[in-house]
């Protein structure tokens, strides 16, 4: 299924700033450190935010985690906010890329939806710190990030709207215009509630429920339930 929201996904290589900090990071070669300072700062922020929350995070936390000087921080970012925005954008680019890739690999739309949701849940479940950063802390990080957060959620709409294509005219014509927005909002609320409560281990088990919920308006309950249970 061609991804309607994004151009074809790039190679799914994991960006270095999202990789967990290497344990022996003080011993890294200087050249590597210099090249990766920005990435390390982003990773350092993610770690600090996971521990202290956005409000409680200081530049000192970030630079300590990244093992760089305060001056280096300010060479890359003007403020904590700016560093957070960079981190948020990095996480969302990665998440969106994975969803797009999974969606693209399926021929049929119901299976593509299932694959896309599955990829999102898997990413958030395996990266609880990044999940919290992007779905919980983003909301307290000021209007700029909130706007990006809203846009990121709305960017999922076309994946579901693609389901209208296969529908008989009378169903398609009558399906209300806000259907996709409501589906996306409902899905995200289930996901973020679990992240907020530190229950990221429950995320992947949501897959069948979310598939059935999102497919029902297009396929009806019975078909949606079948697609949800199909492996």
């Amino acid at each position: 299924m061609r991804d309607p929201a994004n151009p074809p996904a790039e190679s799914p290589e994991y960006p270095p700033e999202l990789a967990r900090l290497p344990p022996g990071r003080h011993g890294l070669p200087r050249e590597f450190v210099n090249h990766n300072q920005r990435e390390r700062l982003i990773a350092g922020l993610a770690e600090a935010v996971a521990e202290h929350g956005y409000a409680g995070t200081t530049i000192a936390h970030i630079t300590r985690n990244a093992a760089v000087s305060r001056r280096t921080f300010y060479e890359h970012f003007a403020s904590k906010d700016e560093c957070f925005i960079a981190a948020y954008d990095t996480v969302m680019t990665e998440l969106r890329g994975r969803v797009a890739e999974a969606f693209d690999q399926e021929e049929e739309w119901p299976r593509a939806v299932r694959a896309g949701i599955g990829a999102m849940l898997e990413f958030l479940a395996t990266e609880p710190h990044l999940a919290r950063l992007s779905m919980v802390e983003a909301l307290v990080a000021g209007p700029v990030v909130v706007e990006r957060y809203d846009a990121a959620i709305q960017s999922l709409v076309p994946y579901f709207a693609a389901g209208r294509e296969g529908l008989p005219d009378e169903v398609f014509a009558e399906l209300s215009a806000t259907t996709e927005e409501a589906l996306v909002g409902g899905m995200v609320s289930l996901i973020s509630r679990r992240i907020f409560a530190d229950r990221t281990d429950e995320l992947e088990a949501l897959l069948p429920d979310l598939v059935e919920f999102t497919l029902t308006p297009y396929l009806g309950s019975a078909e949606a339930a079948k697609a949800a249970r199909a492996a």
Binding site: V140, P143, D150, E174, T178, A182, D209, L210, G220
Partner: protein
């Protein structure tokens, strides 16, 4: 500064019961917080802004609330109780569940439209007001879950519906309303009714029956249930 209010006379208030005055002041402060928050954003608002808007003394504020945060949580509680009460009152008068959902959503949307400052505070600003506020926001959504769960009894496939369905429906309804409030499109909120009714009922009744209730054509609500 803090002792100013104690010297202030309370003209004409002696006839009113003490409890009434206290409650009245509390509501004035809550309403002022909502106004200020919806105008400036939660982070910017100060206690000074709130008491100025409420026309009360700073002391009065601290007699009622420990802090801005405390006042914010009370505001959320106040608005949610009011909205829920209105929903239950309107919906409870009806027999059939689909009609109750329709009436309940009507009541909810009209509350939002009538109390834009409270609605914006509780549905938009709450998300950036710290973990306790977010938790309360989540809880307020949960309050609606049990109302929707009754739909499982009237649905032909009620037993097979996913466990999290109600949570997702309410999350979707809140998200749609949130979008309108965040965009300042308050006047369009009541117009959302048919779409939200259809969205909420479809998983239980199927699209066709849901649409019928949503459009208001369903004149004989109890005939088939």
């Amino acid at each position: 500064m803090a002792s100013k209010s104690t010297t202030r006379p309370l003209p004409g208030r002696q006839q009113l019961p003490r409890e009434f005055i206290a409650q009245h002041q509390r509501v004035r402060i809550i309403s002022a917080l909502a106004q200020e928050t919806s105008e400036q954003g939660y982070q910017q608002v100060t206690v000074a802004d709130i008491v100025r808007r409420a026309g009360t003394a700073r002391n009065t504020f601290y007699e009622n609330f420990r802090s801005k945060e405390d006042c914010f949580l009370a505001t959320q509680e106040f608005a949610m109780e009011a909205a829920l009460e209105r929903v239950v009152e309107t919906a409870g008068a009806l027999q059939s569940w689909p009609q109750r959902v329709r009436a309940g959503l009507t009541a909810f949307l009209s509350y939002v439209a009538e109390e834009p400052a409270l609605a914006r505070t509780c549905m938009v600003e709450a998300l950036s007001a710290g973990p306790a506020a977010v938790e309360r926001y989540e809880k307020s959504q949960q309050a609606f879950v049990s109302l929707f769960k009754l739909g499982r009894d009237v649905s032909p496939h009620g037993a097979d519906l996913p466990e999290t369905l109600e949570e997702a429906i309410i999350g979707g309804v809140f998200w749609i309303v949130y979008q309108r409030l965040a965009a300042g499109e308050l006047s369009t909120v009541p117009e959302l009714l048919p779409e939200l009714v259809e969205f909420a009922l479809t998983p239980y009744l199927g699209a066709e029956a849901a649409r019928e209730v949503a459009s208001g054509d369903d004149d004989h609500p109890d005939a088939e249930l």
